[in-house]
Every structure is written in structure tokens, then in C-alpha cells.
């Protein structure tokens, strides 16, 4: 129980805010700032009220841990989870898509495979200002979204059904304080030709559009497994988001993101067929997690001058703060995506009425790749841009409320605190959403994950790589470097020979920071983490691999089917923008530069 200075009972949240405010005041007094200083620093308003210091200018006096962020308090669990609608195709695009760029199109390179994988479906998507209500107690926000929504409507695609998306930039120059209306949209992590992949410098401007060709084919289709592609390279959960060089964090934080789901003859969306995974959309629910900051007026706030990593103190799911979700007492599949912009999360199921319980569930996919078979877990860690598909069986919680809790302790943009202090006790973390298992019992024809013995085999990694390349990630005077060199869209750091295999060794020399490293085009497998085999849930294909302090990971890749430029980068979006990234190309002939 908590009490304020008047002896009145207050909630725990309120008490923590009061304690943080009191600590702020003590620090300011210790800093011996005069009233003039306080006004100059923007800490005192005209009427003399002390504004919350920590979150809005965390660097005002000393490098403060960012857990002193102070968005206005809001009542949690009063809004239902927003279920993101599915995007509908259009009958036809006028003018018709062509290999060469069209007038007013921002694309500069021809479609390399448009006539090989002719689109069967066409979509139009418009990026524009999107009024959005994130919580009833906060004013309406002016965000940026796709088709007037953020998250935008979900693409539902099928393998073997190529599509073309005509993507319009209608974003205004008036950015309300952050964001740049110059965009390039990346399908993370599609097996996509370079000119449609949303390369960071392929940005296009207001009034232009960009045709993106998504073949929806399995890797290997033009090489190792001609005609079909390798079924073991199936992806299920992808996302589609802005990737504009130097402004990705601002634009994505402002709302430019969408889910993209891929189904096939095994992952069918129908629980009576294929792998018998819970049916989409009723029992297969995408959820995107973000942690954000709001200013004293309740307006979404972005810390423009932060180069380390931004932590939010308001936890959002599908664009709303701490929602509740009413569920039936049966199995659900959730597709979890963390968009940060910087925070790592680890999700547990917390029963506040029985906090010592270890509530287990199943992880079935890593970065959108179904695992060799389901793995029973108590928690799932998820860094920025990783996706984790899970199955939760709510029948064990019938009639109760159960929380999705992030128990990973993180104090600033560098990363979670090192183990073993990194996991907080049940109830002491962030209660991100609440599941209310209150709906009536219904039929569940999905398979119990305990009885699923196999999804797909993993592609073999025993082949001799054409080259082993090493990448040293470092921070030189605050500048993110890879092998001592810095980002430049116009310089290709190395060339991969099309249709070969490589090993990439990633080494983290940056000191205190952890980095979720992402490579476009192909999924990789982790051969070793610090020369040891990876943990079970990482025996998988992935496209974002977390690099912890001083860690060395060795990755296996095949690079197939398409040519052109692609990036490698840290997906902590603040690092990405400052600019922990490099360009590599696939060409018919590659090089063997081992330290590019």
C-alpha cells in the first residue's frame, strides 16, 4: 500500500510518479540551478510549475537513466485491443505497371523479375496524415499512416501469388515536430528484388509513387530449387515499414508500419488443414508492440537529439496504450512484432492473483520462420524488428484475467541490464496488455503444439562457404562504425556472388551496447554464439540477430535469385539513423573481401 505526504492512499503508479518527481526535484536542487536557469532550460513554465524533467530532456543536467521518463498517466486496460483490418486489392492499376519506371514514379531502376513472376494481385496504398486516438484520456494525435490507419491494413499474401503494390507519398511538409515526408518502404524480410525492397536511399517524395513488386516466392526458385523454391525457406510474419535513411526512427515512430502475412499449403489460415495452426483472422492475431513518450499536453513526443536509443514509458499494442483483449478459452496464435524504437522486451504471462506461477506457452516461429517444431517457453525475448509467433492456450485460464508482462529490465538505450539481474519479478515489469478469458467456450480444431512434431526442416548449413566475412561493430566517439567505416549509400562495401553461400561473423566491440542486427533479402541461421551452439528457439532461420555485449556470432547465408543493393544494419532505430549500416550488393560475380 502506498501513501502520499498527506497520508492519503494512492495507487502504486501514482506513488512511483511522485517518487520520481521528488527525486527530480532533489537533483535539481543539488544542481543548484537558479530560477533563471530553470526557466532558460525550459524546466519551469511561466506559471512556475516544474515540468517533468526526465523524459523530455533527459540530458538537461546529467546523463540520466531514461526510466525517469514521465508521460502523463493514463488509466490502463480500458480500451479493447485494436484488431487490424486486412488490406483489399484493387482490380487494376492505371497506368499499368511496367518494367521501366513510370512518369511520377520515384523508382530509378527497372523491375528485374516483373515478367518472371507476373503479379496476380494489385494494391494501392497511400501514405498520409492519420488522426489517431491512442487512448481516451489523451488528445487525438496527428500521426502518419497507410490508408488512414496506423498500423496500416495488413497485407495477406500467398506463396505463388506475386503482387504489386503502388505506394503513394501524400505526406505533408508540416511534420508537427518530427518526421520527414520523404519515404522508402521496406518489406521486412521479403525475398524481394532490390529495386522493390525499400533500400534506404530509394526514397520518393510528396506527389510521387513507387511500384513495389513482391514475387512471394521461396528462396532458391531461380537457383537451388528451380521452379518451386525451397519450401524450408517459407516465411509467415513480415512487416512493411518506412526505411528512409537517417529518418527511419522518426517516420516509423510516427506510424508508418504495416503487417504482411504469407500463407501457403501448410500455414493455411485454416486450422482444419495443413499444420492446423489457429485460424486467421479470428484466432490468429498480429500484435505490434511499441513504447513511446507523450509530452505534458498528451502529444506524442520524439526525442530528436538522442543518439543512444529511446525508451518509452507508455506501452502500446496495435497503436493503443495498454489495451485489454477478450478471448475464448482455447488456443490462439499471436504474431508479435516489437518496433521499439529501441527497447528489448521479454514477455511473460502474469497472473496477478498467483504471481509465483510459471505460465507456459509455445513459441512456434522466430522472425516469421516456423521453427523445426514448437518449443514450450515461459517467456519470449524480442528485440526491435524481431517477430515471434506464439500459441497461447487460454483454456487453462478460463474465467480469469491474465497479463502480458514485459519483465525485461532496461534503463537506457544501450540495452537490457546484463544477466542475471535482467528479469524482474512477476508484477514488477510493464503490464503491456490484459487478456480477459471471458468469452464462451468454442470449438478448437487447431493442433495442440505439444503434439506437433515437425514444421519444416532447416536448410542444411554443412556446405563450404564461398567466403567468411567479419564485421566489427564499434562506436568511435559516438559514431557507429562497421569495420571502422561509415554508412554511405553510394559505396558498395562488398559484393556477394549470386547463388552462393557465405558465413558472416558479427562482432560487437561497441562496449555497453546491444544491437539487433538485420540483413535484408535472405534469412540466415546462427551457427554459433560465442562459439557455442545457439539456444533452442534460435535453432531457426532468422533475419534479426541480437548481438549482446562483446558477443561474437557466426551466421550462415545463401544469397539467391535476385541481384542489386541491400543493407545490413542495426535495427535499434536510433542507431540505424546514426548510421549503423552498410550497403552490400549481389552480383553475378562477387568478391572475397573478408573484412569489408
Amino acid at each position: 500500500m502506498y501513501f502520499n505526504v498527506f497520508g492519503q492512499r494512492v495507487s502504486r503508479t501514482k506513488y512511483r510518479e511522485m517518487a520520481a518527481a521528488a527525486k527530480n526535484r532533489r537533483e535539481l536542487i543539488a544542481a543548484q540551478l537558479s530560477r533563471r536557469d530553470l526557466v532558460k532550460m525550459g524546466l519551469l513554465t511561466g506559471t512556475g510549475y516544474l515540468v517533468s524533467k526526465g523524459g523530455l530532456s533527459a540530458r538537461a543536467k546529467s546523463p540520466l537513466p531514461l526510466d525517469q521518463l514521465a508521460s502523463p498517466p493514463v488509466t490502463p486496460f480500458i480500451e479493447p485491443l485494436h484488431i487490424i483490418p486486412v488490406k483489399e486489392p484493387v482490380q487494376v492499376l492505371q497506368p499499368a505497371p511496367s518494367v521501366a519506371p513510370l512518369p511520377h514514379e520515384g523508382r530509378t531502376r527497372p523491375h528485374q523479375a516483373l515478367n518472371v513472376f507476373r503479379p496476380k494481385k494489385f494494391y494501392k496504398v497511400r501514405q498520409h496524415v492519420t488522426p489517431s486516438r491512442v487512448h481516451p484520456e489523451l488528445p487525438e494525435q496527428v500521426l502518419w499512416g497507410f490508408d488512414g490507419m496506423t498500423p496500416g491494413p495488413t497485407y495477406v499474401a500467398r506463396y505463388g501469388e506475386p503482387i504489386l503494390v503502388r505506394n503513394f507519398n501524400e505526406l505533408p511538409p508540416d511534420n508537427g515536430g518530427f518526421g520527414l515526408n520523404s519515404v522508402t518502404t521496406h518489406l521486412h524480410n521479403g525475398h524481394t528484388p532490390s529495386e522493390s525492397d525499400g533500400f534506404p536511399c530509394d526514397f520518393f517524395e510528396l506527389g510521387q509513387f513507387y511500384d513495389q513488386h513482391y514475387p512471394n516466392v521461396l528462396a532458391g526458385i531461380l537457383s537451388t530449387h528451380p521452379g518451386t523454391g525451397d519450401i524450408r525457406e517459407s516465411l509467415s510474419t513480415l512487416w512493411y515499414h518506412d526505411h528512409r535513411v537517417d529518418f527511419t526512427s522518426q517516420n516509423t515512430y510516427k506510424g508508418l508500419l504495416v503487417f504482411y502475412l504469407l500463407f501457403n499449403e501448410f500455414d493455411t489460415a485454416n486450422e482444419t488443414t495443413g499444420f492446423h495452426l489457429p485460424s486467421f483472422p479470428e484466432f490468429d492475431v498480429p500484435m505490434v508492440f511499441a513504447d513511446k513518450v507523450f509530452d505534458e499536453d498528451g502529444r506524442l513526443f520524439f526525442d530528436l537529439f538522442n543518439i543512444d536509443g529511446i525508451l518509452g514509458d507508455r506501452f502500446m499494442v496495435n497503436g493503443k496504450i495498454q489495451p485489454f483483449f477478450q478471448v475464448h478459452p482455447r488456443r490462439y496464435r499471436f504474431r508479435w512484432l516489437n518496433v521499439g524504437p529501441s527497447r528489448f522486451q521479454e514477455f511473460f504471462l502474469t497472473d496477478l492473483g498467483n504471481s509465483s506461477a510459471h505460465n507456459l506457452y509455445w513459441q512456434i516461429a522466430n522472425d516469421g520462420n516456423l521453427l523445426p517444431k514448437p518449443v514450450q517457453v515461459e517467456s519470449v525475448r524480442i528485440g526491435v524488428a524481431e517477430r515471434m509467433d506464439v500459441i497461447i492456450d487460454f483454456s487453462q485460464f478460463a474465467g480469469k484475467s491474465i497479463y502480458l508482462e514485459n519483465r525485461l529490465k532496461q534503463l537506457d538505450g544501450r540495452g537490457p541490464v546484463p544477466a542475471p539481474d535482467d528479469i524482474l519479478p512477476a508484477g514488477a515489469g510493464n503490464l503491456v496488455m490484459r487478456f480477459d478469458v471471458m468469452l464462451p467456450a468454442v470449438q478448437d480444431q487447431s493442433d495442440d503444439p505439444a503434439r506437433i512434431t515437425k514444421f519444416y526442416d532447416l536448410p542444411d548449413t554443412a556446405v563450404e562457404p564461398a567466403v567468411v566475412r567479419t564485421f566489427r561493430f564499434d562506436r568511435l566517439n559516438g559514431e557507429w562504425s562497421i569495420n571502422g567505416t561509415f554508412m554511405d549509400c553510394n559505396r558498395t562495401r562488398f559484393r556477394v556472388k549470386q547463388n552462393t553461400a557465405e558465413h558472416w561473423v558479427l562482432g560487437n566491440f561497441s562496449g555497453d551496447w546491444q544491437h539487433p542486427i538485420h540483413i535484408h533479402l535472405e534469412e540466415h541461421q546462427i551457427l554459433t554464439r560465442n562459439r557455442m551452439p545457439p539456444p533452442t528457439v534460435e535453432v531457426s532461420r532468422k533475419d534479426v540477430t541480437r548481438l549482446r555485449q562483446n558477443e561474437r556470432v557466426e551466421l550462415f547465408f545463401r544469397f539467391r535469385d535476385f541481384t542489386g543493393r541491400y543493407p545490413l544494419h542495426c535495427h535499434n532505430m536510433i542507431h540505424e539513423d546514426h548510421a549503423m549500416m552498410l550497403r552490400w550488393d549481389i552480383e553475378p560475380d562477387g568478391d572475397t573481401n573478408i573484412s569489408p
Binding site: 546529467s62 488528445p139 502529444r299 568511435l476 554511405d488 546514426h578
Partner: protein, 211 residues
Amino acid sequence: MHTPNRRELLGASFVAPLLGAWTGTRMSRAADDGMEAARERVRKRFLPNVPLLTQDDKKVGFYDDLVKDKIVIINFTYTRCEGVCPGITSNLVRVQRLLGGRVGRDIFMYSITLKPEEDSPRALREYAKAHSVRPGWTFLTGNSDDIELLRRKLGFTNPNPELDKDKSQHIGNLRYGNEPLCLWAACPGLAHPEWIAESVSWVDRSRVKKN
């Protein structure tokens, strides 16, 4: 003369038809109060008007005289820095050449000293001369507390307090921005000068390709 407000209005009128559907539905209690209010919020939080002294002994206010209405490139350095600074300074010299006549007219470069006790205006003047710095790129010193406040507000800090105190570990990024349009980004000071110049051009929206 550079008038960002006119350009901003021009941009706004260009998009007005596209925004028609949205502006029609006026939101009550919307957190939207226009570009001027957004600018003011950014100014209050990040751009204090601390007094500084240029290498020509001129007193200036950081916001009022150096940043307001301008496109800027800002870095922190000191004349006797032997680590990253020589590389960064020589990069910036080339960036100034690449940007040509725009520096001093639309784009303003500022290097602020981390050692004001050593770097008097005269020391900065000599340093600038030795590096063939041309007009439009100003070196700045001032009161230690003011510079420290600026350093923190602009994010040139290290979250590790020990490293943050060590000036040889100072942040070598370049902060670039378009103040009236609230466009702020940063790139490494040791990146290729052509890349730095190209990056800065992105916030000069008058140069954006349209077709």
C-alpha cells in the same frame, strides 16, 4: 533572402488538395496546432538561446542568431583535440567546398568548443585560418556552463558518466537540421564528405526532386 516561411507556405499550398479529405474533418482536442507551435516546442526543449562568442569576438545567442530560420550543421570539437577532430575538421572543410556558395547563405556551419577555457576567440580564429575555413562556418566559445548545457541538450553525450567526462571521447557526430521545418538528423563526422553534403541537402527541401 532566405525566407523559409514562404517556402513552407508554398509547400503547404501544393499539398492542400491532397489534404482535403483530412482537413475537412476538424478534430476537436486534436494535438495539432501547426508548424509554428511545433517549432516553438522544439526550441523550448532542445535549442536554448545561450550566449556564445564567435571567433571574431562577436556575441551571439545560440537560437536567435545561429539557428533560427536556418539550415545548420553543428559539431563539438576543441583546437587541441588529436583524436577524431583532425579527421572531422578536414571532412568539414571539404563539405564546405562541396556546398559552395550555400554556406553562409542558406546553410550555416558551427563548431563549438568543448574547452572554452583554452579556446579563446583568438585561438579559434587561428585554428580556422590554419584549416582554410571560409565564411559561413563559425567557431564558437563561451561560458563553460552554457556550453555544457548546449552539449547536453543537443545530445552530444555518452550515457556512461565516466566516458562522458573524458573530452577525448567526445561525440564526433554532426548534427544537421532545418530549424523552421523541424527536420533534425545526424551523421558521423568521419563519414565521406560527399555523403555528409548529400545528407545535409536532404533537409534543404527547396532542392527536393519533383516530377
